[in-house]
């Protein structure tokens, strides 16, 4: 089944990871600019990903225990339509995003140019440049750090899941029954805490690498200052496009994350155009929905996509709101001009207005 892939724990992988890190061609965050608060960007060459899931294991080992178990029994939300989302009994789930699993590997089989190919894609938060989860969180629980890391403060989050709704990839996942909402009005407001990848914030702050990068036996991922990383990703995408026979000018098809949602600090590079990968992902979700046994098609579709983001084009979600800033800026100017100008001197004018 697609979402229960066989993990290929390769001995070679473990040894290569240790050797690779010792030789360390990967730039350290501190030396790469983290210390001065420069945005850090990761580039993932997924054509090199062997799907061993060592990154997933390392992430889980490092962070799963930081997510507390919920209180028992959980407060019953009012009204009853509010769902309790409890993953505490399903901590072993690693084939999708959950509050206890912030990274998973998508294992895809697709046909490219008549050949069956396998693609493995580590998926986690994209760490957007202007994240809607941060902009639209009503309590400031979701935040972006100076180094570009987007994280959720579990001490403030009420678990309303708005961040998941506004995220183009619906990344954050809710665990009910824990967090500050328990101390306020547990049945009537809030519903837990949202969790997602924080790109190993505490480790990066110490100048260390995020765990998923550190343990990768194939070193598919690198981290460094955004400008450098973007150049690197574009150059790599041009190579991939050329090698695929599409021509260098088609390099954008081989990149994902550089332009999506106005830009992110996670850039995927692939040997196969991302529209083909997304088509395969959609087909996979459709098949999952069909096999899920969920009768209502819309519910089945939602379940298939939950915690398993697609890789389609994503417009800048904050663009419309951003454009309306002009209205906010111009309205007082126009109002003041109207008050001071001809409108005030018209009917009823200055003289008539005086008491």
């Amino acid at each position: 089944m697609k979402f229960s892939p066989t993990r290929r724990q390769l001995l070679k992988g473990g040894l290569a990871a240790a050797a690779g890190l010792a030789a360390s061609g990967i730039p350290r965050p501190r030396s790469a600019g983290a210390a001065v608060g420069e945005p850090l960007c990761t580039v993932l060459d997924i054509s090199r990903c062997i799907g061993c899931e060592q990154c997933v294991e390392a992430c889980r080992e490092q962070w799963q225990e930081t997510v507390p178990d919920p209180v028992e029994p959980m407060p019953k939300p009012f009204p009853s339509r509010v769902p309790i989302e409890d993953w505490s009994k399903k901590k072993d789930v690693s084939d999708r995003l959950t509050p206890y699993n912030w990274l998973y590997v998508e294992h895809l089989s697709l046909t490219h140019k008549g050949e069956e190919v396998e693609v493995n894609i580590p998926r986690r938060c994209m760490h957007c440049l202007n994240p809607p989860c941060v902009d639209l969180c009503p309590f400031g629980a979701s935040r972006v750090e100076k180094n570009g890391i987007v994280r959720i403060d579990p001490d403030i989050c009420l678990g309303g899941a708005k961040c998941r709704k506004v995220c183009p990839w619906h990344i954050p996942q809710r665990q009910s029954g824990l967090g500050i909402y328990l101390d306020i009005m547990p049945s009537y407001a809030g519903n837990g805490v949202m969790f997602k990848c924080h790109r190993c914030t505490p480790l990066v702050a110490q100048g260390k690498l995020p765990r998923c990068i550190e343990v990768c036996p194939e070193q598919i991922q690198s981290i460094g200052p955004r400008d450098q990383q973007v150049k690197k990703a574009v150059a790599l995408a041009k190579q991939k496009a050329k090698a695929d026979g599409a021509g260098e000018e088609r390099w954008r098809d081989y990149l994902y994350g550089l332009f999506e949602n106005g830009g992110t600090n996670t850039i995927y590079v692939s040997a196969i155009p991302f529209h083909e990968i997304n088509r395969a992902l959609k087909a996979d979700r459709a098949q999952w929905a069909q096999e899920s046994g969920i009768k209502a098609p819309r519910r089945a579709k939602r379940a298939a996509l939950a915690g398993r983001p697609l890789m389609g084009p994503v417009a800048d979600t904050m663009a419309e709101v951003g454009n309306l800033t002009w209205a906010l800026a111009l309205a007082p100017v126009a109002g003041l001009a109207a008050g001071l100008g001809r409108l005030a001197a018209g009917k009823g004018g200055r003289k008539g207005g005086e008491r």
Binding site: P79, R81, V82, L129, N130, P132, V134, D135, L136, C137, P138, F139, G140, A141, R143, V144, E145, K146, D153, I156, G160, A161, K162, K165, V166, A189, G262, T317, M318, E320, V321, G322, L324, T325, A327, L328, L330, A331, P332, V333, A334, G335, L336, A337, A338, G339, L340, G341, L343, A344, A345, K347, G348, G349, R350, G352, G353, E354, R355
Partner: protein, 154 residues
């Protein structure tokens, strides 16, 4: 309703009411409560479940209110003295508007992608929400006490 000047008549009064009402509705709609409490199930209110729509409408409503208040200030600066039937009429009202405007400006800048320290964001979010709630309750108090409103509008 007493009308002392053509400018303070029903048009500006209604525009202000619509602006404030929409700003409060879409502002509180930034909390995920409307869907939870069935408000978005009311025919015609489905849009209130979409946070991008409510955010855009919030901007437009605030632009309307800012435009009206700026117009009023412009008239004042021209020497036009009017007893307004709408808008802040007391120091308390103007303080609330100033708090809303200052915290709102910070939120707008953040929405444009400007980096603000996370603790500062939490503070401005709470100030914005707190002053909006204070404005709403004060306004409701004034509306419910019509006599008081006639004497001195908020």
């Amino acid at each position: 309703m007493r009308q002392e000047h053509p400018y303070s008549g029903p048009l500006s009064h209604w525009l202000y009411g619509i602006g404030i009402g929409l700003a409060l509705f879409t502002g509180f709609g930034q909390m995920p409560i409307y869907k939870r409490y069935y408000l978005t199930d009311i025919p015609g209110l489905g849009w209130a479940a979409d946070f991008y729509t409510t955010a855009s409408l919030h901007y437009l409503a605030v632009a309307l209110v800012l435009g009206l208040l700026a117009w009023r200030i412009g008239l004042y600066l021209r020497g036009v003295r009017i007893r307004w039937l709408w808008g802040p009429g007391t120091a308390w009202g103007w303080i609330l508007f100033a708090l809303l405007a200052a915290s709102g400006l910070m939120k707008v800048l953040r929405n444009l992608g400007l980096y603000l320290p996370p603790p500062f964001i939490v503070t401005i979010d709470l100030v914005h929400m707190g002053s909006a709630m204070a404005l709403m309750f004060t306004g409701l108090g004034v509306i419910l006490s019509r006599r008081r409103r006639r004497e001195k509008p908020l």
